[in-house]
Symmetry: C2
Subunit: 218 residues, 2 copies
DNA sequence: CTTCATTTTTAGACAAGGCTAAAAATTAAA
DNA sequence: TTTAATTTTTAGCCTTGTCTAAAAATGAAG
């Protein structure tokens, strides 16, 4: 039905739509896909013909319901495979993204359903991202970025925004992972840095880090 | 390193080499790959340049050691994934081939090693085919085709030659699977058909079926 | 309301893989 | 051994997805 390249475009546009009001710009897609705007134009025209997105010259694109569902299907597979890699094959959470990028394109409805069942119908992947259900719906939780919290607030780490190995390993070194409880001890006004408490340890957290950690406040 | 198409060619040539003396012909590859001879010529020339096979115009091709190892690696992945699908996800042995055809191209050494370990280092796939080890070596067993047995011989079914769903489902209907013990009760001379005993049941087996069942005689 | 920087699209080209039609080599038959 | 049939290769074209360079549209600033 959809080629590997097409699925990757849909996925990228799906993600971009989530933090953009209105249509997604050609340049932003090119940026995310690490490709050239001209290539994006070609592809979105093709995808518009296929009915998975609507496209107006110079005005950006928006996924149709069909497109959104297709993208969610790919993301569902990606996240389920990540759970498999971490829970069953004992990979570390910073090693699974690349492999899941490949596995997400395996075509078999039955496979996804059985994998889902085998893993116990997980709701979140190892990075705390929600796994869309068969119909492409995600149960969204009200989570905040650590950077949005203020002094003395407590919360549980429920996800990461950035998923690079460097960042995940950095968190590991500080024993921060999904489920970690933490408290904001202080927040520096001029540079956005924070001091947080994790268990008995206290850490300095840069603004950049704080903007990439999702917290569920309690 | 190798594209999907290249890997598929290597795999096909690897299989063809096993039942061919001398080089593998262009036409036989085209046949197996369901493609045109002209396309095969192009590809084998490219693969020869890459050093995975030797090719002499009009004389057929032979895998180099590197090529054989690469092909075995792909086959190793295919068969390990088949074990996963059957043992863990409870797929039926006639449903896994197509999915494994996709999974065999996932690139990650670490993934294969962990999968192998997770599955308990299996030696055979669900169809009884041997799984090459990390170095591409297969332990070959002395197995015969059912059609080679004679009256009163007993044996255990250890594999199938043909792997189409139709054939596997046909075997299932007769309760024949890997590990099934059977005895040849009679063999018809003029059409090669046989009567075999499986447990308490007796079955008529056509020549075609007998030529696609591997038996280890006891 | 022009002008200029930015964004986006178009046009033309390229690499991978595949196909068709025609030419060349090989093998088999008479 | 000369011809005929078969196999294999070559030549040229197509599609997918990409790129660069140039043109066109948009929008921000004066």
């Amino acid at each position: 039905m959809f080629s590997l390249a097409e699925e990757n475009y849909l996925k990228a546009i799906y993600h971009l739509e989530q933090d953009t009001k209105g249509g997604v710009s050609t340049n932003s897609i090119a940026d995310k896909m690490d490709t050239k705007p001209s290539s994006v134009t070609d592809m979105v025209q093709k995808l518009a013909d296929k009915g998975v997105l609507s496209y107006k010259k110079y005005k950006g694109t928006t996924l149709t319901t069909k497109g959104r569902k297709t993208a969610a299907g790919v993301i569902r597979k990606h996240r389920l495979w990540e759970v498999f890699l971490v829970d069953k094959l004992k990979f570390h959470w910073d090693e699974v993204h690349e492999i899941a990028e490949q596995l997400e394109h395996i075509k078999s409805e039955e496979l996804v359903n059985r994998l889902d069942k085998y893993l116990g119908h997980p709701d979140f992947d190892p990075h705390g991202d929600p796994i869309p259900d068969k119909n492409g719906n995600v149960k969204k939780t009200e989570k905040k970025l650590l950077s949005e919290l203020t002094k003395k607030q407590k919360g549980v780490c429920v996800g990461v925004k950035e998923t690079s190995s460097e960042f995940l390993q950095y968190l590991d070194k500080r024993n921060i992972t999904i489920g970690t409880k933490l408290t904001v001890l202080g927040k520096e006004f001029f540079d956005g840095s924070m001091i947080i408490q994790v268990g008995r340890d206290q850490f300095f957290i840069s603004k950049k880090t704080a903007e990439n950690l999702y917290i569920q406040t309690t």
